[in-house]
Symmetry: C2
Subunit: 200 residues, 2 copies
DNA sequence: ACTCTACTATTCCTAACCGGAAGACCTTCG
DNA sequence: CGAAGGTCTTCCGGTTAGGAATAGTAGAGT
């Protein structure tokens, strides 16, 4: 009963994934989480997913069904139960969301910039910039896959939100870079088109 | 030896805090972390701080010193050792930072917006907007405390980065709000400039 | 047909982490 | 003096997360 309140957000995240589309196996759920949930939540570890599914099944929030996937193979697929949908609605409506939690390893390292030489800091920030671009592409692809699909209106909002976050991060990185002491491009190399160049 | 590699980022975060200022007690360290680290990393629990300090001391990365705080009172204060600074530098230079991890409960809930009615969604977003403003104020205060202090050049960069993040979040929230269906301000209030309006 | 690799599917072990409780002293202020 | 609130630290139990281990299955190449 009141235990249902006690579930961590990740449980509801998994449960929530099941409110789209269909019956999924733990493995498929993980794929899904990796490709979507990871942008604004954690993509739970495999083990985590299975743990959650077990717990959700115990409480009757999801229904498990055995499907055979070969002679000596049996896959368990899950779908939300009506009770699960209710629990999810209640959670969405009643619980305090709290404030976002950011674990930003680049910012953490930048904080300690006084222990590094400027070139290393630049390098790190440029690598982050590249990683951002890649991440942005991935999310863009997700959005392109669902945009204009009425069933995914809210996921699309979230995806756009995420994109704007990446944009803002790129700006922030650039701002820090330009506030850093010059990299002294003493060598007569034609820069501007090289590695660090502000592509895009 | 190679164990030093194995430390989690939070260990280095604590160690890093000690590279500013002076000798700190676990308790003071917690205060510090709460007021600064929490904006872009986690503020570790008390117990966590003490656990880290013990571990760091074991490995010789911090030096503990007993200080008396009264007749039968003894406080342990910690400072980085030379070895600790070296380990930190090595970590900063060599380890892969990885990508930021965001746990965004608002985005997670928005994703499941199809399970809620629009009014609830609006309410949630507006509450988040307010929380953002408060958080922003706190961070602004931190920045004001260290800005223009050369010793805190990098923390200041990080703080400005954080502020720009909050700004971008505010924009994103507003954008979502204005894309949501009208709240139907049926009461004879002059709408057109009301509720959803892009105030500020 | 045989092996190699990659994918599907799940479980187990261990480390990281959190939050609360508890115990202690110390200072301040009514 | 006594209560309240701040400093300081440890212990505990539980949850979460990550990585490795296991194991069957399907396809690709030789």
């Amino acid at each position: 009963m009141s235990q249902d309140r006690g579930l961590p957000a990740t449980s509801y995240a998994v449960l929530g994934l099941l409110t789209f589309g269909r019956e999924l196996s733990g493995y498929e759920l993980k794929q899904w989480a990796d490709s979507t949930l990871r942008f604004y939540w954690t993509a739970p570890a495999m083990s985590q997913i299975y743990t959650e599914l077990k717990r959700l099944a115990e409480r009757g929030l999801v229904l498990a069904r055995e499907v055979d996937g070969g002679p000596s193979r049996t896959t368990t697929r899950y779908r939300v139960s009506a009770k699960g949908t209710r629990a999810l609605r209640r959670w969405l409506a009643d619980s305090d969301p709290g404030f976002p939690l950011l674990k930003h390893p680049i910012a953490l390292r930048l904080l300690l910039g006084h222990l590094l030489d400027p070139a290393q800091v630049r390098e790190m920030l440029e690598a982050y910039d590249a990683a951002l671009a890649a991440q942005r592409r991935d999310l863009r692809a997700v959005l392109d896959g669902i945009d204009n699909e009425p069933a995914f209106e809210f996921p699309a909002h979230v995806a756009r939100w995420g994109l704007s976050y990446y944009d803002s991060e790129e700006d922030a990185v650039r701002r820090v870079l330009s506030a850093l002491p010059e990299p002294l491009p003493r060598r007569a190399q034609a820069d501007g088109a090289s590695g660090t160049g502000p592509a895009r």
